[in-house]
């Protein structure tokens, strides 16, 4: 047993690799293909101003809800620094998905033409008074609620699932009349016929939720000054207050994402920019939600769509094939080169690459199945590049070995001695590469990250494999008397006999006198 001690790591790593491979097949883990390989939609959103972590997380939650609403399976939404990367693989209606996630919906103020009755049978679940089925008022003096919209009325021409499916840009019809739903937790609770958009969220300076003097939650928006701000608001408020033909109900709907958030009744002819209050049966949560929506539109911060991609499935498949074929050809080429150059040792280098590949495949499959980490084309490139990194380690060791044997060290002792020095070089060089990959992963976005991740992963694997695989297999080979007697098979020079190596000078002299 003692003789085998140096080889334990070899047995362990091969068993681990084999077990990992078997587990991968048994568990049915497969690499999750990125959407550049399987087709799909990808969007990168960037906040237009500096934001804190909480805000980004909040935005991600909202975006996730929107995508879930269109019934897409497994959207991948990740944070990359302050950017949000949304990847939706294999979605059918790509344009629609893009529209939903890519655009920060605009907050609109629209005069209410009529409260369309909601059908009692269809709107079943919300019969009791609901806080967001607003009873609202806008008045400088925080007046009491005046209108209650009975949620048990009609669906008024809107499909029941309208809250989940949303409306298209055409249906929202910003320039004209539209019928818009009011939703609560995805359920239709009200329906409004509204006129054209009279004001957008950009007219608002800010909004906050407050407790009024009477102990009720209210929402207090502050408008910007000038014609685009409070001026515009007062113009439409005036129409609503006087119940003119453009605003017969006297209510002004606050619309977001094609859904009516609230339709407060206007209680005054004109307002001061910072003296507006929306009151009703708000709870703290609903008041804050409305304030947030007023402030930021759909998302708690405004996003700019930096990049949007729709990848067709056929082009994706082509790219995958090209990557795989190029990878195989590349590996074949280096295999030929290594074996031609280092013979049996070259073969061992390829064996190391194979075990490394098995481990990497298992890891990628596991990460793909359990962590949703997708393998992109950039990632495949990273892996192909890492083939070079892995072989570099072998070359560094083999060259060291050769040098030692040339210097007169017997092959067996050279095997151990040169590994120590070569491994120190390998670790130094690999760690330097790892630092590079780590920084790339940490500091960059998009495809860069996939590349850096897989390059880093395989570089780390290389350090492990150099020690636990390359060291013992080479040692195993040089143990063989036959191979030592035929060093050409190992790609090594012949051993120099002891007596000559003892005195190199003598050797030179011998050469000279020959």
């Amino acid at each position: 047993m003692k003789r085998l001690r140096g080889y334990r790591s070899l047995v362990v790593i091969v068993v681990i690799a084999g077990a990992a491979l078997i587990y991968t097949f048994v568990a049915g883990n497969k690499p999750l293909l990125g959407l550049d390989l399987q087709g799909g939609v990808s969007v990168v959103l960037k906040p237009v101003q500096e934001v804190d972590n909480e805000t980004i997380d909040q935005a991600i939650t909202i975006i996730r809800q929107r995508i879930d609403a269109i019934g897409v399976t497994e959207p991948e939404i990740t944070r990359q620094g302050n950017n949000i990367l949304i990847q939706i693989p294999g979605v059918k209606d790509k344009e629609r998905a893009l529209e939903l996630v890519g655009q920060t919906a605009e907050l609109q103020f629209r005069p209410v033409l009529a409260n369309v009755p909601v059908d009692p049978q269809e709107a079943t679940t919300t019969t009791s008074g609901d806080p967001t089925a607003t009873t609202t008022t806008v008045a400088p003096d925080a007046s009491i609620p005046t209108t209650t919209i009975d949620p048990t009325k009609t669906v008024g021409g809107l499909p029941l699932d309208v809250c989940a499916s949303g409306l298209s840009a055409g249906e929202v019809n910003a320039g004209g009349q539209a019928i818009l739903p009011q939703c609560d937790d995805g359920l239709l609770v009200g329906s409004y016929a509204v006129g054209p958009v009279s004001l957008t969220g950009s007219a608002l300076e800010t909004a906050r939720a407050n407790l009024s003097e009477s102990g009720q939650w209210i929402v207090a928006p502050t408008f910007k000054s000038g014609a685009d701000g409070i001026g515009g608001f007062n113009a439409v408020a005036g129409q609503c207050f006087s119940k003119s033909s453009t605003c017969p109900t006297g209510q002004l709907a606050i619309v977001l994402d094609g859904r009516v958030l609230s339709a407060p009744r206007i209680n005054s002819q004109s307002f001061q920019a910072d003296q507006i209050e929306i009151s009703g049966s708000f709870t703290e949560r609903t008041a804050r939600d409305l304030a947030t929506s007023l402030k930021y539109g759909a998302l708690p911060v405004e996003f700019e769509q930096q990049q949007a991609q729709i990848v067709s499935a056929t082009l994706g498949r082509d790219a995958l094939n090209a990557g795989l074929v190029a990878g195989l050809v590349g590996i074949l080429l280096v295999a030929v080169y290594m074996i031609a150059f280092y013979r049996a040792l070259g073969f061992l280098a390829i064996a190391k690459l194979t075990v490394e590949g098995a481990l990497l495949w298992s890891m990628i499959s596991w990460l793909g199945s359990n962590n949703g980490l997708a393998l992109t084309l950039a990632g495949i490139t990273g892996i192909i590049v890492s083939v070079g990194v892995s072989l570099d380690s072998n070359i560094v060791y083999y060259e060291h070995l050769k040098e030692d044997v040339y210097k007169g060290r017997p092959i067996r002792s050279a095997t151990d001695k040169s590994f120590v020095t070569a491994f120190s070089t390998i670790v130094k060089a690999d760690v330097a590469s790892l630092i590079g990959a780590g920084l790339l992963w940490w500091l960059t976005v998009g495809p860069v990250r996939g590349f850096a991740f897989y390059l880093g992963l395989s570089t780390a694997l290389d350090i492990l494999m150099s020690w636990s695989f390359m060291r013992p297999v080479v040692k195993l080979c040089t143990r063989s008397k036959f191979l030592r007697a035929h060093p050409r098979i190992l790609g090594l020079p012949a051993e120099i006999l002891q007596q000559t190596s003892r005195s190199a000078q003598a050797r030179v002299q011998a050469e000279v006198s020959r």
Partner: protein
């Protein structure tokens, strides 16, 4: 012994001191050309840096002219239309409304005779590319600092400085190549450049490790200058450098030729071109930039300067690398001479050779010092 087998045995006798001067000239020319081209011609920035929309569809047999006349009807007659790879039609236009994007997508699908879902669309805001570049530059700076610290700890600060110097050189030249040949720069290209950094460092570390090992040669015996020792080390690791470069380049070349050109995967091309250029620059710079910079830094140290001055006063030519004594054959000043000598290996030539040697180098055991032993023995 022929040249190949000398390289194989790490027994070449290339006078790197001489080659470094040439290398310096080449590097200077390349760097200046890069800078001039960058300032005058600039870079051919792709759609990712300017903002715009790009459509791609596999359209065998459709020519650019056909595509243009077709696209005029949807107002994209001015768009940049290319055939990339073998049969992929790529149309790039300025930023536009989503409705227009859909319209063009439909037009392209009709043109290619496929379903609209087979058309890829990529919309890029103008800030995307610059964001990627900004993060790349940030990564470059962080990388330089991290490598400086890491190599200072593991090797020494002079080697760290030389390595970073080489990296900057590589990046400049790689970007320069993109500017001179007006290759299109995409975020993928920027990424690939960053990856080169790690690679360039790998080669440099291998060489530096050998130099570190040989350092005793200068200190203990005082028979050669730091530069000569470095040149010797370069000769010893020459095959290592060649082979690591070849083994790294082969997969990348396969990506470029098989993946990008034969199979027409455009994304692969972005990576592969940059990787190839960067790797070549990296292999070159670890020999011709990092090493001479290290020597220049080292020979400023009083210890090594003293050795150099002493050798100079002894009449030793310190501007050339020392002649090597190899146990396998006669050393000679230059590789050409070496092969000539080996082909007509006469006893007298070898004898005079070795006589010369003994004046400069005490014994071969000094030329190849014993490897530092580690204390713990494995068995």
């Amino acid at each position: 012994m022929n040249r190949m087998s000398r390289i194989n045995r790490g027994q070449t006798n290339i006078d790197f001191l001489k080659w470094w001067k040439r290398g310096l000239a080449i590097s200077a020319v390349l760097v200046i050309a890069s800078i001039v081209s960058l300032t005058t011609r600039g870079l051919n920035l792709g759609i990712d840096f300017e903002g715009g929309v790009s459509w791609e569809v596999r359209a065998p047999g459709v020519s650019v002219e056909e595509a243009r006349s077709e696209l005029e009807s949807v107002g994209e007659g001015e768009a940049k239309i290319q055939i990339v790879g073998s049969d992929i039609l790529r149309v790039q236009g300025p930023e536009s409304t989503p409705e227009h994007t859909v319209e063009v997508r439909q037009a392209l699908a009709d043109l290619a005779g496929t379903d609209v879902s087979d058309v890829s669309v990529s919309t890029v805001g103008a800030s995307w590319g610059s964001d990627v570049t900004a993060s790349a530059i940030r990564a470059l700076i962080f990388f330089a600092i991290a490598i400086l610290i890491y190599l200072s700890i593991r090797l020494e600060w002079r080697m760290a400085v030389a390595a970073v110097f080489a990296v900057v050189h590589d990046v400049l030249i790689s970007v320069g190549v993109y500017s001179i040949f007006q290759f299109e720069v995409s975020p993928g290209t920027v990424v690939a450049f960053l990856t080169i950094l790690g690679y360039s460092i790998y080669d440099t570390v291998v060489v530096d490790d050998k130099i570190k090992e040989n350092e005793g040669l200068v200190g203990q015996s005082g028979r050669m200058t730091y530069g000569q020792m470095t040149s010797l080390s370069m000769n010893q690791v020459l095959l290592r450098s060649i082979n690591t470069t070849v083994s790294s380049l082969l997969p990348v070349l396969s990506l470029l030729i098989v993946g990008a050109f034969i199979m027409g995967a455009v994304t692969l091309k972005e990576f592969a071109v940059a990787l190839t250029v960067g790797m070549l620059a990296g292999a070159y710079s670890s020999v011709f930039v990092a090493a001479p910079v290290l020597v220049a830094l080292k020979e400023r140290e009083s210890k090594y300067r003293a050795i150099r001055e002493r050798l100079q006063s002894q009449g030793v030519d310190v501007t050339r690398s020392t002649e090597r004594v190899d146990r396998m054959g006669a050393g000679s000043p230059a590789i050409s001479a070496a092969s000539a000598a080996s082909s007509t290996a006469s006893a007298t030539a070898s004898a005079t050779d070795s006589a010369e040697k003994s004046t400069q180098v005490a014994s071969p055991s000094v030329v190849i010092p014993p490897r530092p032993r580690k204390n713990q023995r494995k068995r």
